[in-house]
C-alpha cells in the first residue's frame, strides 16, 4: 500500500508529527510492499523536504508558493489535492491540528472519498485493509474504521506513532509541483494571525504540566498552581470546564479539543478526569492527581494520588520542593 504524508511547512522544517507519520506509514508500507511519499506544502519548503528525505521518504513533492501563507484553506486544499492526485497513493495522512481538521474532510470530498480524523494508530487487517483507529465517546471506546474508497484520508494525533529513524542517506530530489495561480476567491480573508498569548513555558513543550479544573473553586486559586509550576519549571494547563467558566484562557485548555500534551509529569489538581480531558494528556509519563473527591475518575489513570484539600497540600508541596531541591 502506497502512502502520502502531507506536511504543512508552516515552520520551515519537518515537524515531529511529520516524522511520526513517515515512521508509521513506512512500517505499514514495508509490510504491504508499498512506498512512502511526502508532499511538503508551504511558502518555504526546502528545509522540510530535506528533512523528509532524511527520515526516509521514497519520493518528495514540493509545493512551494507565496500563496501558501496564513492558513488560507482554499489554497492549501488546492495544493493538497494536486499532490494527492499526482502521488496516486492509497492513503493520504496529515498531522491532526486545528488546520488539518478542516483540510482533511474537504480534501476527501474533492477526491470523492472519505476521511477519518484524530486517529491514534494505523494498522492493516489480516486481509490488507487499512484500519484507522480512533477514540470515540471521549475515549470511552475505540473504533477501528475503514474508508471504502481510495484514497483513504486521515489525520493522526501528534505523539501517536513512533517517528522514523533519521539516516536516510539516499539522494532524493524533491519533485516540484506547480500550484496554479488562483484568483483570490475572497470568500474567507485572513486579516490577522496572532500567536496565543502564553506566559512562561509553552504547554506543548513543557516537561512538567500542572493543570487545574473546576475543583479549584474559584479562578484566583490558579495562583496556587502557578506557584507550584514556577518551582517545577512547569507550564500551567486547565480543563475545558475551567476554560468555559472563564477561569483560564482558551490557550491553556488540555484535552481532546484543546492541547495534546505528553510531559514527563502531569499534575492534575481539582480535575475530575472526564475522558475528554484524559485524551489530551494520556501519554504523560507520570501522572499525579490531587483531588478532594476520592471517587474522581482521574485517580484510575494516576500513578500517585492525594485525596485532600489542595488549598492545604499544594502550597505545602511548593514549599517542600523549594526546600528539598536546595
Amino acid at each position: 500500500m502506497d502512502f502520502l504524508v502531507i506536511e504543512l511547512a508552516a515552520r520551515d522544517r519537518l515537524t515531529s508529527g511529520g516524522a511520526e507519520l513517515i515512521g508509521g506509514a513506512w512500517r505499514l508500507a514495508s509490510a504491504s510492499g508499498g512506498a512512502v511519499s511526502v508532499a511538503v506544502l508551504g511558502e518555504n519548503v526546502a528545509e522540510a523536504c530535506r528533512g523528509a528525505v532524511a527520515f526516509g521518504a521514497g519520493r518528495v513533492y514540493a509545493v512551494e508558493s507565496p500563496l501558501l501563507v496564513n492558513y488560507d484553506a482554499e489554497r492549501y486544499l488546492a495544493a493538497a489535492e494536486l499532490a494527492a492526485r499526482e502521488s496516486g497513493a492509497s492513503a493520504v495522512l496529515f498531522v491532526a491540528d486545528a488546520f488539518t481538521a478542516e483540510l482533511a474532510p474537504r480534501l476527501a470530498y474533492r477526491l470523492g472519498t472519505g476521511a477519518v480524523t484524530g486517529c491514534v494508530s494505523l494498522t492493516l487487517s489480516p486481509d490488507g485493509e487499512l484500519l484507522l483507529n480512533r477514540p470515540v465517546y471521549g475515549g470511552k471506546g475505540m473504533a477501528e474504521m475503514a474508508v471504502t474508497r481510495l484514497p483513504a484520508v486521515a489525520t493522526v494525533a501528534p505523539g501517536s506513532l513512533e517517528p522514523a529513524q533519521m539516516g536516510g542517506s539516499r539522494q532524493v530530489d524533491a519533485a516540484p509541483l506547480r500550484l496554479p495561480d488562483q484568483p483570490e476567491s475572497g470568500e474567507v480573508k485572513v486579516l490577522e494571525v496572532r500567536p496565543e498569548e502564553s506566559e512562561g513555558v509553552r504547554l506543548e513543550d513543557a516537561k512538567v504540566v500542572v493543570s487545574g479544573g473546576r475543583g479549584l473553586g474559584e479562578p484566583a486559586n490558579f495562583r496556587y498552581l502557578e506557584e507550584l509550576a514556577a518551582v517545577l519549571g512547569a507550564a500551567v494547563g486547565a480543563s475545558r470546564p475551567a476554560v468555559d467558566a472563564g477561569w483560564a484562557s482558551p490557550g491553556m485548555q488540555v484535552g481532546q479539543t484543546g492541547k495534546t500534551v505528553s510531559p514527563e509529569l502531569y499534575i492534575a489538581v481539582g480535575i475530575s478526569g472526564a475522558s475528554q480531558h484524559l485524551a489530551g494528556m494520556g501519554r504523560s509519563k507520570h501522572v499525579i492527581v490531587i483531588n478532594e473527591d476520592p471517587e474522581a475518575p482521574f485517580f484510575k489513570v494516576a500513578e500517585l494520588g492525594v485525596v485532600a484539600d489542595y488549598r492545604e497540600v499544594v502550597p505545602l508541596l511548593t514549599e517542600k520542593l523549594k526546600a528539598l531541591s536546595h
Binding site: 476521511a115 494571525v193 505545602l316
Partner: protein
C-alpha cells in the same frame, strides 16, 4: 440574516464511563442509561446564533437529523428562543457517515432557501469527527470557517470571526453565505431559558421533514458509506493508583515532594 444551527442529540458526554457498553449483537455503543443532551459544542454554536439574534436581529432556525426523540433537542433550542426548528426525522441518521449526514442537512438547508449562515459545533461529543461542518460547506458551495470562538456581523454581507489556528488565533472575514464551526469559549456558554419559554417550546409545532421529502434515499446513503466501522472495543482503564497518606497535610506534601524529585523530571 438567517442563521441555521445544526444540533445533535447525544448521550451525555459527561456520563460515567461505566455506563458505556457495547451491544454484543451490533458491536455499537449501547448507552441506554445515559441522559441525552445537546452536543456541548452545538450548544456553543446555538448561543453564538442567539447572540447574533440579539445584536443584529438574525433569524435563528435549529436543524437536526435523527429519530423521533431528537425533537427534545429542538425544543431546548426553541426554549432558548430560536425562531424556528426543523427536524429531519430519520431513524437511521445516527448510523450514517459524516458525508451522508452532510448531504441530508445540506438538502434541508437548500429547502429553507434564504440561509445566510450555517453554524455547527466543532465536533459532536459522541464520535468527535468534526467533519460535518466542512463537508456541508463543500456540499453547499458556501465559504468555510472552522473553530470560531466569536462571530460578529461585518459590512457588505460578511461576518468577522476570531478562530483557532495552530498555535494561535486568526481574525478572518467570511463573505456570506458561509458555514462556520464553533468551539467553546467563556463567551458562548448556552444561556438558561426562561420558564415561560420552556413551556412555549413544549407546545410549539416543529416541522418534520424526511429524507424522501428531500429527494434522498437514506438507506442508499447508508449502504454507500464512505467511512465504515469495522470493530469497536473498550480500552483498558489503566492500573492502580498509589495513594499518598500521612498524619498531616505537611507529611503528605513532604512525601509527594520526595517522590516528584525522585522522578527527576525538571
Amino acid at each position: 440574516m438567517h442563521v441555521v444551527v445544526c444540533i445533535n442529540h447525544i448521550p451525555d458526554p459527561e456520563a460515567p464511563a461505566k455506563l458505556f457498553k457495547l451491544d454484543a449483537a451490533t458491536n455499537r455503543p449501547a448507552l441506554l442509561r445515559a441522559n441525552r443532551v445537546i452536543g456541548p459544542f452545538d450548544e456553543n454554536a446555538l448561543e453564538t446564533a442567539l447572540q447574533l439574534k440579539d445584536s443584529a436581529g438574525a433569524k435563528v432556525t435549529a436543524l437536526t437529523a435523527g429519530p423521533a426523540t431528537t425533537v427534545e433537542a429542538l425544543r431546548k433550542a426553541l426554549a432558548a428562543r430560536s425562531d424556528g426548528a426543523v427536524h429531519v426525522k430519520e431513524d437511521q441518521a445516527a448510523e450514517l457517515d459524516s458525508a451522508a449526514v452532510a448531504r441530508l442537512l445540506a438538502a434541508a438547508i437548500k429547502k429553507l432557501r434564504d440561509v445566510d449562515l450555517v453554524l455547527c459545533g466543532r465536533q459532536v461529543g459522541d464520535w468527535d469527527g468534526g467533519q460535518v461542518g466542512p463537508l456541508l460547506a463543500e456540499e453547499l458551495g458556501f465559504a468555510c470557517v472552522t473553530l470560531a470562538r466569536q462571530i460578529e456581523p461585518a459590512r457588505d454581507r460578511a461576518v468577522r470571526i476570531a478562530k483557532e489556528v495552530p498555535g494561535g488565533i486568526a481574525v478572518v472575514e467570511a463573505s456570506l453565505p458561509a458555514v462556520v464551526t464553533v468551539t467553546n469559549a467563556p463567551t458562548n456558554q448556552l444561556r438558561i431559558p426562561k420558564v415561560k419559554d420552556v413551556m412555549a417550546a413544549h407546545r410549539a409545532t416543529i416541522s418534520a421533514w424526511s429524507g424522501a421529502g428531500l429527494s434522498l434515499d437514506v438507506s442508499e446513503l447508508a449502504d454507500n458509506a464512505r467511512v465504515t466501522v469495522r470493530r469497536m472495543f473498550i480500552p483498558d482503564s489503566g492500573g492502580q493508583v498509589e495513594l499518598i497518606q500521612g498524619e498531616s497535610d505537611e507529611e503528605v506534601a513532604e512525601e509527594l515532594a520526595r517522590r516528584i524529585l525522585a522522578m527527576k523530571v525538571s
